[in-house]
């Protein structure tokens, strides 16, 4: 026990030192906030007589006894929370006091997403779409964070941020169009389901390779900083993706190049079947932030207000101070990883049930609304019915639509079509003319 106490103390000291340093930096930033890039290149005053370490690599004191810094994983960075599981505000000073319409909107977007998930999940089970990934348990992180952003803020995500698009008003028809890869799909039917993107809603198209979006988000944030338009970039990823080299790249670049960027890690405990104790041995992802010189926080991802507050403040400061923030939202992936996965092979039903029945972002928000008299059984029934109808209608429309024209297999490889590709396109059509009965041409637009 003494040992544990010892390293707790040590880590606290380490952390508060980081915070102090940051505070100092923040002060100097406010004085000349525009660009401090590559400050290291300016020659530092060099005083060889001072009795302190002169190493250019770190600013620290000497110490005359041997002591390794221990990680503090037993008592980690605390989880910020605004309301408890019954939807009660714990600390009134932290209550964002959002108006009723806004909270109702949160709830409706989260539940609409949930309804869409159920229907599309079933649709995949029946082989109507080829693949699907649900958002069960993560509805609060998406909606709470999206609500704290400006619609102009650029979103880089992964495959589990449909709620952000939902919040920004992405039509159900376009979600469906992408999953069905029909003529209405903005992506022209080229990617697997749930790889959404929307230029109008500033949501950069999803790609399958994990974590590639992280350094990209840093680059986009740098460009936005130079535009000086008071926008921020948010970049979502899971705790598994954070193990990729690209995550390291993105964190470090964002810090050294002073990018107005929010890294939003959804830590749901699993990367497919891999539990977090096989993913990392530190204190989650949030504890890595200070190591990169990044302000970091851990929030309860099932608490939409905690997520909202953290994102709101991170956004404000990221823009004001041109520096990245890291938010680790603790959640639980209630659904399977994807429709290609059966999670009962690696985790217990009891565990899943706990999060589904006792600690769910949707039920917590509902408790909050009920306590204020903003929502009752009747509203719930009506909304369930209506949202199901909305989704089913979009679903049926999507299923009836044709697939995009086969020519679209060839465009957009380059902005222009190279002659060699033009030739390949012609050769495909020559082939189809002769062998058309072997191809599903009827389902495609003509």
């Amino acid at each position: 026990m003494a040992a544990i106490g010892g390293f707790r103390r040590l880590c606290t000291v380490g952390l508060s030192a980081v915070c102090r340093n940051r505070a100092r930096n923040a002060l100097s930033i406010s004085q000349y906030r525009s660009f401090r890039v590559n400050g290291a290149l300016q020659q530092q005053p060099f005083d060889s007589l001072a009795e302190k370490p002169q190493f250019p690599g770190a600013s620290a004191e000497f110490v005359d006894h041997l002591e390794f810094i221990q990680p503090n994983v037993i008592s980690g960075i605390p989880v910020y929370r605004v309301m408890d599981r019954q939807g009660q505000i714990i600390n009134p000073s932290e209550d964002p006091q959002l108006p009723k319409e806004m909270v109702l909107n949160f709830y409706q977007k989260m539940t609409l997403l949930n309804t869409m998930d159920r229907i599309l999940y079933e649709s995949q089970r029946q082989g109507r779409i080829s693949f699907y990934m649900t958002n069960y348990g993560e509805e609060g992180t998406h909606v709470g964070s999206a609500a704290a952003l400006d619609p102009e803020d650029l979103v880089f995500g992964q495959y589990r941020e449909a709620g952000v698009l939902m919040f920004r008003g992405f039509p159900l028809d376009l979600f469906m169009a992408q999953c069905y890869a029909n003529v209405d799909d903005l992506g022209k039917g080229r990617q697997m389901p749930v790889h959404y993107g929307s230029k109008d809603l500033n949501f950069v198209t999803i790609s399958s390779p994990l974590a590639t979006q992280i350094p990209q988000a840093a680059g986009a944030a740098y460009a936005i900083k130079r535009e000086n338009t008071n926008r921020v970039v948010i970049c979502y990823f899971g705790e598994g993706a954070a193990s990729e080299g690209d995550a390291h790249a993105g964190f470090n670049f964002a810090a050294t190049l002073e990018c107005p960027l929010i890294f939003f890690c959804r830590n749901n405990g699993y990367a497919i079947s891999t539990p977090t104790d096989e993913q990392y041995r530190g204190d989650g992802i949030a504890a890595r932030g200070p190591g990169y010189g990044m302000l970091s926080i851990r929030v309860d991802g099932n608490d939409v207000f905690a997520v909202y507050n953290a994102t709101k403040e991170a956004r404000r400061r990221a823009i004001a101070e041109n520096q990245p923030f890291l938010i680790e939202a603790m959640t639980y992936r209630i659904g399977h990883h994807s429709t290609s996965d059966d999670s009962s092979a690696y985790r217990s039903v009891d565990e899943v049930n706990y999060w589904d029945k006792q600690d769910h972002p949707i039920s917590r928000l509902r408790h909050y609304m009920t306590a204020r008299g903003w929502w009752g059984e009747e509203e719930e029934r009506a909304w369930r019915k209506q949202s199901r109808k909305l989704v089913m209608e979009a679903f049926e429309r999507a299923e009836k639509r044709q697939k995009p024209h086969p020519d679209l297999l060839f465009s957009d490889v380059y902005l222009e079509m190279p002659p060699s590709l033009e030739k390949q396109k012609e050769s495909m059509w020559r082939h189809l003319q002769q062998y058309r009965e072997h191809y599903p041409l009827d389902h495609y637009e003509k």
Partner: protein, 393 residues
């Protein structure tokens, strides 16, 4: 570890800069400038001179259509192109490892002072980060010019290039793209670069739809092609033959101009055989053509491919239809090299015109060796011998 090796080479190049006379006359056979300079820098003084350069750079006629010119070597013409870009495009930024002080090959000298440290800046030492960061800049609408310090170190960014940059436009249905991204990297053998300062990785990228790959042969070409890459609305990789950075000197227009991508250039017309190459190897081919003319009375058509992907099939096939023979040469290993692609395509397109098997003279299927480089590279004698065999076929 990679960083340590690079440090050594940086020291070498810094040393060279103090020794080599960058304003040397055009005919100055700079082939040996690099070797002599490096021998000064070498930790062990050696009495044995290095093998002479395997090519001779011959400056081309001064292009008159683009206004006043100035004598520049290849690294200076790259700087000039970057200078023009930063001046005309306020969103353009240049970044990579050590570009702020001018770059380990001096390609960005003076740009930071002229355009500001928010536009010319160092990144942490992380290639996947550099390319990912560049993609992000381009996605947000800025012109991103990323430097990878040696083409040999581009592989950590392979995923970002192949899975991301190349597919951005296609996968998003053209909602998003990173067409404003250009990746520059020193490329090719240098006499003593061994495994990780010599590579020619163009064939790895040629298999990837969505990116353009461009390699110049001279300062004039470098500037015009680089400016085209930067302006092109597709992600481009621009490989700079580093052995030419100082060795190639000619008159280069000071103003901005573009040389079209995906267009090969016929440098010398001929009737008996087509010699196709890119980068430094073009100069080898020119010498081979002269040797073939002189020793064998063979008339060679020399073509610089310039753009590896999408490549100019038409110009190459037109030439082969005329000459009936094709020799393709590149420094990279033969198996899976881009010559294989060219050879196969030309065979399909020009089957009836071919009078001898298409021949590839390339690097061997080994890593690029240090002390054995003179035996490894597809030099003029290997190429000359191939011409001889093809003519006698």
């Amino acid at each position: 570890m990679a960083a340590a090796v690079r440090l050594l080479l940086r020291a070498g190049s810094a040393c060279k800069s103090s020794v080599a006379n960058v304003h040397r006359g055009a005919g100055g056979g700079l082939g040996n400038a690099a070797p002599s300079a490096s021998s000064v820098c070498a930790p062990h003084t050696s009495t044995q001179r290095r093998h002479a350069a395997h090519f001779t750079f011959q400056p081309e006629p001064v292009p008159s259509q683009y206004g006043p010119t100035q004598k520049m070597n290849l690294f200076q013409s790259v700087t000039s192109a970057l200078d023009n870009t930063l001046a005309s495009d306020p969103t353009a930024v240049i970044f990579g490892e050590d570009v702020a002080f001018g770059g380990v090959f001096r390609c960005t000298v003076g740009l930071r002072d002229k355009y500001g440290k928010d536009r010319v800046f160092n990144t942490p030492l992380c290639e996947q980060g550099i390319v990912g960061f560049g993609i992000g800049l381009a996605v947000a609408g800025a012109t991103a010019i990323a430097e990878i310090q040696f083409a040999d170190y581009i592989f950590p960014a392979f995923d970002q290039i192949v899975n991301e940059a190349a597919k951005y436009r296609y996968r998003s249905g053209n909602l998003f793209d990173c067409g404003n991204l250009t990746i520059r990297a020193p490329w090719g053998c240098v006499g003593h670069g061994a495994l990780y300062h010599s590579q020619s990785p163009e064939a790895f990228f040629a298999h990837c739809p969505g990116i353009k790959i461009v390699i110049p042969r001279s300062p004039v070409q470098a500037k015009g092609l680089l400016l085209s890459c930067i302006i092109d609305k597709n992600p481009c990789i621009f490989f700079e033959p580093k052995i030419l950075y100082r060795a190639a000197v000619e008159q280069v227009p000071m103003e901005s101009y573009q040389i079209p991508l995906s267009q090969a250039e016929v440098l010398q017309e001929g009737s008996d055989i087509t010699l196709l190459a890119w980068g430094t190897q073009v100069h080898v081919m020119r010498e081979v053509a002269a040797m073939a003319q002189e020793k064998l009375g063979v008339s060679c058509e020399v073509i610089d491919l310039r753009t590896i992907q999408p490549w100019d099939i038409e110009t190459v096939c037109k030439s082969v239809v005329k000459t009936g023979r094709l020799l393709v040469s590149h420094e990279a290993p033969v198996t899976g090299g881009f010559a294989a692609e060219i050879s196969s395509t030309v065979q399909e397109e020009c089957f009836l015109n071919l009078e001898a098997p298409i021949t590839r003279v390339c690097g061997y299927d080994t890593p690029f060796p240090h002390i054995f480089e003179p035996f490894y590279i597809p030099d003029k004698w290997k190429c000359f011998d191939a011409v001889k065999r093809m003519i006698n076929y």
